[in-house]
Amino acid sequence: MSVCTKMPYRKKLVAKTSCAAAMLLGALSLGISPSFAQDFPEGNISVTIPTGEGGGADRDARSFAQVWNKYLPRNVEFSYYPGAAGQVGYEFYMRGDASPSNLLFSNIGPEVIMLELQDVPVEIGEDIVYIQKTSTEPMAIWVGANSPFETLEQLIEEAKTRPVTISVSRLPHPATIGMLALGEATGAEFNLIPFGGGNPTAMAAITGEVDASALPLANPITFGEEARVLGIFADENPVPDQTNDAPTVNEVAGTDLPPLTSSRAWAVQADAIAENPELIEILKQTMRQTLEDPEYIEAVRASGVPAEFIDPGNQEEAMQEAAETRELAIQYRDLLTGE
């Protein structure tokens, strides 16, 4: 397994030294250099992650990068810019070069909502383009193993008698929209508590500080027996065997909510596409090869994420999802911003 692609750095100064060492390691261990990738500029690929290290985006970007190196043998240098629901990361990313070697690893759902709701001078399509999805997962409602709620019906019924507390990662998030839409459709009252990140959000549900949590489905799955999935915001459960055959929210509540998903995707600055279309094509091609590689599928599984979530959606599909998410954000703007 290659090592050189796993290079998380905030510190570019130190990173360059470590990169060189890791590159040597990689070259020694792999010795692979696909010919078409030779046209790609030498030097590191810089990846901005608009959330903190150790989170879901970090996990998924690393799983991807370790295999991607087979097809595009360049070192990957990660930078983390959490803050203001991802705004800091997007703005810092735009300050960088419009180059095919400068990428953003994004979480389309929450970040498009954030861009729509917050005063961010970044436009999807005009400034940033999502060029390749890597995974898509639905949002889920889940509780800790010790929770008294066994089913989603119980949770909804309780929420009709009192405000039920739901931990969410942040307010601008598809899971938040799902809970608000569910409350609106059923008359249940959900009190959404943004804990600022997947880990503290999950902790609040597991330890019983809140009644339940709404997060992307991979989160409760990675917590194994500590979590019980009650419902999924999708047309069907993509991983019934890993969620104890949890029902969809629409099945339980008799609602007609749209599927609420979020995709991880690679993005570049729009100017980079205009200036270097052939290099962006190399990026896309090698990314697609990575997504089809059994080694990548194994790496995803090893990280605790179901392989069923792998989604090789292309640029068109990724931008379509971004547009649909933006519509949702506009629809629920008042509830999400507290205005």
Binding site: C4, V14, M114, N199, M203, E225
Partner: protein, 513 residues
């Protein structure tokens, strides 16, 4: 639960067999902890390409040894040059540096190392036996209780301000105000960022720490020849015998080390808490229980022991949520989770079912890494104290240059170097005008943490302020907080009143009949 002694012995023995990776990790950790800006978390990230290449067990052992050593290293510059290497060592400056100024650097270093090593070792051993119990702490301590725990730390401002209450409180309030900068926790609305994107995530702690302590201290240093006055300056390095004697003498404080380490361990287990809070709370509580509270802040050994023991107690505590529940309790644990995920190792309860030897082995490795730090103490105590005799003409520029790089490292922003300089000027003015920089820093560190927990508690309760008094544990903590704030002045008043009564009675007795 790990009751079988042979199992424990096996784990410890196996951990010792990994000495070859622990010793370099300890060396790196000591340096990383001593250099402001690096710390364990950043260093582990930098070294991830190495740790990901290692076997998962070896990688974890390397990381925990480095993590533990960095907490020990953080106290060194706090004592010698009034510059805490990490936020967790900020409280160490309160008494460590005054000891150095009095020519007691060797003693202060010995206390720091013994408190760190013994405190870390005790907390690791307690964790080995009580991991299932400790893992339950998170189920009972939520946002409400965390608010009160952090208020214990904030109460330290009042202690610091004892000599000049008005200036102390102004400094603390100023720190809290700075800590309120950044995007708010609920709606991510920027507050007081002056349009700087770099401040959206709040005032960066490391540059603030470096500015308030390191740069302002460097400015002050330039006004004198050496850190210690000529009369207190040692003419020769301490002998091995003297260094060893100080180390052995430090062990006499075993009881304070034990209880502050356990306090640190429990605080470390709490999500959202960490070494800074633990060391402030331990310092505040040590002062409360001390027979000589008036000596705190003047170079009192207990004031060095408390924060150092507590912040090393935290090291094991932060791993408990990751190992027991599967959720990292802090940033260092989050990076360790990456390594576990990379190798496909399950974490949380599954780790104990599928690879219990790895779960308990990590804690055993922490205990062993603290044991392996013992030989490091002797040369460090002997030679590091010599820093204080270096001329400030060389020392001050070195500190400024070195720490400015440290300010840059955590986020990679040049802006953060400007923040460090700005805080350096604030710190210098504060020192010159009698405002305590530690009070400002406590506000900067604890302000955002308290605000977050407070907002979460309020939002969970639909903005009912009575939620702060809604839990039994929370209410017990409130009572203890009130007692720890009210008892010292009350007992002091009672003592003065007794002395006055005695004087009056003595006066009557002395009157000629």
């Amino acid at each position: 639960m790990l009751y079988e002694l042979d199992t424990l012995a096996g784990l410890i023995g196996h951990a010792f067999s990994l000495w070859w990776i622990m010793i370099p990790a300890i060396a790196v950790g000591l340096v990383a902890g001593a250099v402001p800006g690096f710390a364990a978390h950043n260093t582990i990230i930098i070294l991830l390409p190495l740790t990901l290449a290692l076997d998962v067990e070896v990688a974890l052992v390397f990381m925990v040894a480095l993590y533990c050593a960095s907490h020990l290293g953080g106290g060194v510059p706090a004592i010698l040059v009034n510059i805490p290497g990490t936020g967790g060592a900020a409280a160490t400056t309160l008494d460590g540096y005054p000891m150095t100024k009095k020519g007691q650097a060797v003693r202060a270093l010995a206390l720091c190392f013994v408190a760190s090593v013994l405190g870390g070792l005790i907390s690791a051993i307690v964790t080995l036996f009580a991991l299932p119990v400790l893992s339950q702490v998170g189920y009972y301590i939520h946002s409400v209780e965390l608010v009160v725990v952090m208020l214990f730390g904030l109460a330290l401002i009042a202690s610091i301000a004892a000599k000049d209450m008005l200036k102390g409180l102004i400094a603390g309030a100023f720190g809290l105000m700075l800590g309120a900068m950044g995007a708010d926790h609920i709606y991510a609305t920027p507050r007081g960022t002056f349009g700087f994107l770099e401040l959206f995530d709040g005032v960066p702690l490391v540059p603030a720490l470096i500015g308030l302590f390191a740069i302002s201290e460097a400015f002050v240093m330039l006004e004198q020849k050496t850190v210690v006055s000529d009369s207190d300056r040692p003419t020769a390095p301490p002998s091995w015998g003297e260094s060893s004697r100080e180390i052995f003498n430090a062990f006499r404080h075993w009881w304070q080390i034990t209880w502050t380490a356990i306090l640190g361990l429990v605080i470390g287990v709490l999500p959202g808490a960490g070494a800074s809070i633990a060391s402030f709370v331990a310092y505040q509580q040590s002062q409360f229980f001390s027979k000589t509270p008036e000596l705190f802040g003047t170079g009192h050994p207990q004031g060095v022991i408390a924060p150092e023991s507590a912040n090393n107690g935290v090291t094991t505590g932060t791993l408990v949520p990751l190992l027991a529940i599967g959720v990292p309790g802090g940033s260092t644990a989050a990076v360790m989770m990456i390594v576990l995920q990379f190798h496909g190792v399950p974490f949380g309860p599954r780790l104990f079912v599928e690879q219990p030897e790895l779960a308990y082995g990590v804690i055993a490795a922490m205990a062993v890494s603290y044991i392996l730090m013992i030989p490091f103490m002797f040369p460090m105590v002997r030679y590091m104290s010599r820093v204080t005799v270096i001329s400030t003409v060389y020392l001050a520029p070195f500190i400024v240059a070195f720490t400015l790089v440290g300010a840059f490292v955590p986020r990679g922003f040049l802006f953060d170097m400007s923040v460090a300089v700005a805080f350096g000027i604030i710190g210098y003015v504060a020192r010159k005008t009698g405002y305590h920089v530690a009070a400002i820093l406590i506000g900067v560190i604890l302000g955002p943490l308290i605000e977050r927990s407070f907002l979460l508690a309020m939002r969970i309760s639909n903005n009912d302020p009575m939620v702060l008094f809604s839990s039994n544990i929370g209410n017990l903590l409130w009572v203890l907080l009130v007692l720890s704030l009210a008892l010292p002045p009350a007992t002091s008043w009672w003592r003065r009143r007794g002395e006055r009564t005695n004087e009056i009675q003595k006066g009557f007795g002395d009157e000629p009949r």
